[in-house]
């Protein structure tokens, strides 16, 4: 008996199958090993349109105030005063790689593995360009060729590519993608809720993005700019407001909502900038964009806190300043309002600029007029009534295109048309210098009283990707708000 017990227990010791059923137990019952690529693509469109976190920080707190669309006296509206909040400044980089760059890489990998049609890959590649152009425009040199590949290629610490090389690759990507697109409906179908799978519209978006990126190089490399602008025009850009690349938002959850709209729900501190209200005076867009303060429309000057504002203007009641138009349904601040990637109006303004440079059809005034018209008409997408043709005509008569200051007028109109897409507004101002903005000089600003030229890198990079970060900083210049990105040199 005793011996039997001892033998039995010895057997137990030697037993190696203490793991029956463990493989099954360790399979997540709540997750799948793969999902339909279209599910990912729908999600990607919303993620790219961006959430509240980044809309608040990069787009509004910094973008909208640096470019003087908005102004705010609250101290945390750091872009208004050129002070530095590292987290806010780095917010696009902090969120966009995980939210978008990884996803688009995963989509591209899956499309390859599943040998999906080229047009689906082309659409994903266009989205990839869109994501990275926004990132590089804000930060300069960024991880690009090795980015988003943490799982697929095991690259945990991607190198930073120069903005120049990124631009060249993005333009190549757009070129190849546009070429791969035909007509009819793509494999994404309605899962691509932006264009409903319409390949022709994606193609025009690809060339319109090529036009945007090509034009971005006017300062740094006019030759390349001309080459790509011409190529884009030849390829066929957006031709009407039907072609606008924009995201329809709904209110089911944070992911569905317009990130800007969520900010407007949570934060009442922004006011229309004096610079912008002054420009919009006499413009039919004024009451679409803005709602008047207690005594009518009045813009808040940038660069003040409540104390210095009072000292400078005698005003202490912020209710006296114009706010963004918060009217339910017809205003621009709704959580279900659309978000725009690129509008037809912008494209027309780019064509007008191309004409000025002699790279287009020479009809700068015509494109200017079409741009202004489109920029006013497309606002009905926010839910209000379309601006009447008569009002547009009257505006154009009052503000006719003047070739002697063509670039300035075009720049101002781009600025007015890209309200709330502050990434683009900011990039265009840095490149063209228009509209002419008067910088503020708030005590404690970190730019020596100049408008910031870029946003800083994600702070985690200093430690988590130190070698590549250091290399990028050594190459590009200090990681601060005043270093200029490549195309801004």
């Amino acid at each position: 008996m005793k011996k039997r017990i001892i033998i039995l227990s010895t057997f137990a010791l030697l037993a190696t199958s203490c793991d029956d059923g463990f493989e099954k137990m360790n399979t997540n019952p709540a997750a799948a090993s793969q999902i339909d690529v279209g599910y990912k693509f729908t999600s990607l469109l919303l993620e790219t349109s961006a959430n509240r976190y980044v809309a608040w920080r990069a787009n509004l707190i910094y973008g909208s105030t640096m470019i003087q669309h908005f102004a705010a006296t609250a101290g945390y509206w750091t872009g208004d005063k050129y002070t530095l909040n590292e987290g806010y400044s780095a917010s696009l980089m902090d969120t966009y790689y995980q939210g978008c760059a990884k996803v688009v890489q995963d989509i591209l990998n899956q499309l390859d593995q599943e040998e999906k049609p080229d047009e689906m890959k082309a659409i994903a590649r266009i989205m990839r360009v869109f994501i990275y152009h926004r990132l590089t425009d804000m930060h300069g040199d960024i991880p690009y060729s090795e980015a988003g590949k943490g799982y697929s290629d095991g690259i945990l610490q991607p190198k930073y590519d120069t903005q120049e090389s990124i631009y060249m690759d993005m333009l190549k990507e757009l070129d190849e993608s546009a070429a791969a697109l035909g007509s009819g409906t793509s494999g994404f179908g309605a899962q691509d809720f932006m264009y409903n799978g319409d390949q022709a519209k994606w193609k025009r978006f690809a060339y319109s993005m090529m036009l945007r990126l090509g034009m971005r190089m006017t300062k740094v490399n006019a030759g390349e700019a001309e080459k790509w602008v011409k190529k884009a025009i030849a390829g066929g850009v957006m031709t009407s407001n039907d072609d606008i690349a924009y995201i329809i938002h709904t209110t089911e959850s944070g992911l569905n909502k317009n990130g800007n709209g969520e900010v407007f729900s949570a934060d009442g501190n922004m006011r229309m900038s004096k610079t912008f209200i002054d420009f919009l005076t006499g413009d039919p867009r004024l009451d679409v964009y803005a709602q008047p303060g207690a005594g009518g429309h009045k813009g808040l000057p940038n660069g003040y806190d409540s104390g210095t504002l009072k000292a400078a203007t005698g005003e202490s009641n912020l209710d006296n300043y114009s706010q963004p138009n918060r009217s339910s349904g017809t205003g621009i601040t709704g959580e279900d309002d659309p978000m725009f990637f690129q509008t037809y109006a912008e494209v027309e303004f780019l064509l007008a600029e191309a004409a000025v440079h002699g790279w287009g059809d020479g009809d700068a005034a015509g494109h200017y007029n079409k741009g202004v018209t489109a920029a006013m008409k497309y606002l009905s997408l926010y839910g209000g009534t379309e601006i009447a043709d008569a009002d547009i005509t009257a505006y154009l008569i009052a503000n006719p295109y003047d070739a002697s200051k063509g670039l300035e007028m075009i720049g101002e109109q781009v600025w007015a048309a890209t309200f709330l897409n502050e990434y683009e507004s900011y990039a265009n101002w840095r490149r063209t210098g228009f509209p002419t903005l008067t910088p503020v000089n708030f005590p404690g600003n970190v730019t020596n009283g100049t408008i910031p030229r870029r946003m800083i890198y994600a702070t985690g990079e200093r430690s988590r990707n130190k070698k590549n970060y250091d290399e990028a900083v050594a190459r590009q210049g200090a990681d601060n708000l005043t270093t200029r990105v490549w195309w801004d040199k």
């Binding site: 059923g21 988003g148 945990l156």
Partner: protein, 1044 residues
Amino acid sequence: MIIKHILRPAALLLMLVGFVVAQDTGTIYGNVSAEDGAPLIGANIIVVGTGDGGTSDNNGFYEIKVAPGTYSVRAEYIGFASNTVDNITVAAGQTSQADFTMTTATLSGEEVVVTALGIQQKTKALGFSLTEVKGEELSLIKEPNAIEALQGKVAGVNVTTNATGGAGTSRVIIRGNSSLTGDNQPLYVVDGIPIGNRNEGSAGMWGGADGGDGISSINADDVESVSVLKGGAASALYGSKASNGVIIIKTKSGRGQKGLGLEYSSSTTYRSLDEGLLDYQSEYGSGRGGAKPTTQSEALDNIAYAWGAKMDGSQVIQWDGSTGPYSNHNNLKSFYRTGKTSVNTVALSNGGQVLNYRFSATNLDHDDIMPGADMNRKSFSLNANADHDGKIQAQINVKYIDEDVNGRVSMSDSPKNANYSAATFAPTVDVTTMTGVDGAGRGEDGKELRISTSPYTTNPYWAAHSYINTTRKHRFINSVSLRYNVMDWLYLKGRAGLDHFTINSQWLTPFGTAYSSAGSMGETEKRLSILDMEFIVGVDRDLMAGLSTNSFVGVTRNNVLDESLGVSGSGFVLPGINHVNNLKNKDGWFGYNEKEVGSVIGSMGLSYNSFAYVTATARKDWFSTLSFPNKKSPNNDLYTSVSTSLVLSELLSLPAAVDFAKVRFAVSTVAGGASNPYALSLSYKLWDTQHLGQIMGGINGSTIPKLDLVPLSKGETEIGLDLRLFESRLNIDLAYYSNKTTNDIVGVGTSQASGFGSASDNLGQIENKGFEFLISGTPIQTKELTWNVSLNGAKNEGTVVKTNDIDGNIGLGTPRTRNIQVIHIVGESYGLLYGQSFKRADDGSILYDVDANGIPRAQKGGYKILGEGVPPLTIGISNNIRYKNFSLGFLIDGKFGAKIFSGTNTTAYWRGLHKDTLEGRESGLKVSGTDAATGAAGSWTVSPENLRFYYSHLSEIAEQFVYDSDYLRLTNLRFGYQLPRSIVEKTPFQSASVSFIARNLFYLTKNVDNIAPEAAYNAGNAQGLEYYGLPQTKSYGFSFNVKF
């Protein structure tokens, strides 16, 4: 499966055998007492070589029925030397007496302590360091989380507590940290069953509430003893769960009770804000640029800026439009209340020869100093034992805990965190004007009474009273065990236990909250079940002359099932009805995790002539979490230990002053980590929302999975010396250990740009070397006066040897200020504070740029190591003085060598609340340093109206706010009076005592102002960060105890 097949029939068999009762023929009886004649209750009496035995009752009396014969009878009692009486002859139907006078075992090493798997061993046989703490040391403190009482008591055990009040979480670290990013807290084993000690939610960079931990469920009044198994050799039998040490808690039983006994104890303690720590400025009021607010809008804007004018008591417009005096308000004192903790315990015990039990019920009521934060915990415990002539021993432990917590305390970021608001108001602002129409910060419109232009500056009354954050926990910790002594040298033992709890939590951000006006709420139910089974076959016999063995083999299985379900959403259909059914948009979820470890264990102990001991253990664990189809690396690992003890005092002729001397040596490998299921491959899930009718989904999680993970491995070598001198008036216990963790699973530092937050790999390595000492003595020992003093201390040197493939840094956490991180750097100590520094000239002076407004702005020197977050040196000094029936005990504990980053002081600087910001308010602040432009020494005066900008810039530099966290604190104080026997005899009581108790009365030394030196953020590995937790409190009160 094999294990299950063995366990089940064996357990059944054992239960059946239990009902077979042997015949009795004679009786051995007697009394067990201490040297002073006091009866020893619950001593084990063993009739050597028979398996018969019993325990002594309330009067120290025992009796054991035995077959006729001549026996040796041995008495054992924890803390005393075992004692044997030989040649007791018993005839049939007759009785024989054997009395025992037990001597305190400290002289001899014969005292018995609880070791791994609940095995009792004599201390002289131990080849490793083990510290046993008596239950009363926990119960005397009257802290809701009893484990906090270990702080300062055990060398090498470092306890920190979150700054979140009584319902908060503790962090217990033994011999330094074993894992870079994994859990570093020990395994808790209660009555043989590993219990869950998960942290149910904590504050991070963006705020959050402390959801409490698992160990806090243990009722201090039920604890008999706590064994701290510090090193790998002590805990090796727990294998892959042992890398952080093991704390074994044994609860009180009815063993030794003769007849019915009743005990009642009650305590009430009060806690209040420790105002001695607070030193904010009280001279300048709300405003900016040296001016008082002149409009309500300005008052609102400046509610948390104290850059105004010098207080003069004049009538000034307030945030609410009223006028009030421009004078100092002690807002923290006004806002917080006096907390109260009441603990009432009734314990009933009864015992006979075969059966004994103890039943207890405890009610704990705790009101924290944060208004609206309170808890109630009811604990019930039943321990029953049956002992059939020492042949069959059965034990059942049932615990039920019902814990109800309201107002779990938030910290860190502002919204929801009343601590933040209350501490950041300018001193001329009166917090008591913010109570609103209902005392809960509600305005006339039913919404949050806004007290600032920023929606993120929460009205503290709204945060405390209108938000809801409650948890209700129902927990059972049950175990049954059965031991069958087949022969006097052979036994079978089975044990099964279940720790099961359900936590229902509810949170509400009310409708009308400034930053989230629609409101939101959620309900969550978490269920955790830990099922643990163990079966062992053991041998305890003499092998040959002088050589004996105590060995066993066995199998165990541990299954953890973790489920959670919840619903949450935003927007109320009918504002005011705070119920999830009334939400406009809501989502539900269900989480499910299951994992299991199957093990084979074995231990062989040999002893030679009571002076040389060797114990070898082995355990092989199989992990479900490492099992996956097509995985090539093994899903199991083997852990071993060898420990030896040599009693020099029995081996050599030592000086007469040496009563006992022992050296010990042990080597071990244990493991930890690899505890997350489903972590080996990438998976996808669908989002719980669609968009325009389209399904959405994506990658599940943000960590890059790795298929071939293994658990971390920890090897340790330990040596020790145990010396008892001068008739045990002076005892010295020394230990040195050196351990190394390899294969630590680390979320390797991953760039944002990889698309993932982190990646896992077996790359981490840490070394810990340390020295522990316990010097205890009895300087005075007379009949009337005894003074016991002990000093324990530990120095741990932890070094991060390897972090990842490129030995890059690993970030652990960042506070809301985002100018500092807790980080691991290869070659440095564990958990460094790594933050924005000053840029300095060669002579060490700070380099300044002077901006357009003439403000000197310190140049930033980039991120640098600013200190380590975990104190390497800890000490505890205990004193117990007894004079006649009076006793006085106090504990001083201290920690040294670490730093803390204070987010509170950072904010207090830029808001002008800190005392340091007073300088220069009238005539400007002179700043001296080196002019970065010229390289020459410079000196500038910041005008009073620019001070705010100067400090605002300064507050971006973390170095300014990193302080020494060294401290020495009077942690516990107790003054007690025991009713003399002469009086007690005239009462129905057997004994009665009353005590004054106090905790955290004051700091003897500390270096940081306004905050406690260890105001922890959370119980994670990123220690050394502070940001607006509950302020430090001190508590004091009375307790009494009577026995019937």
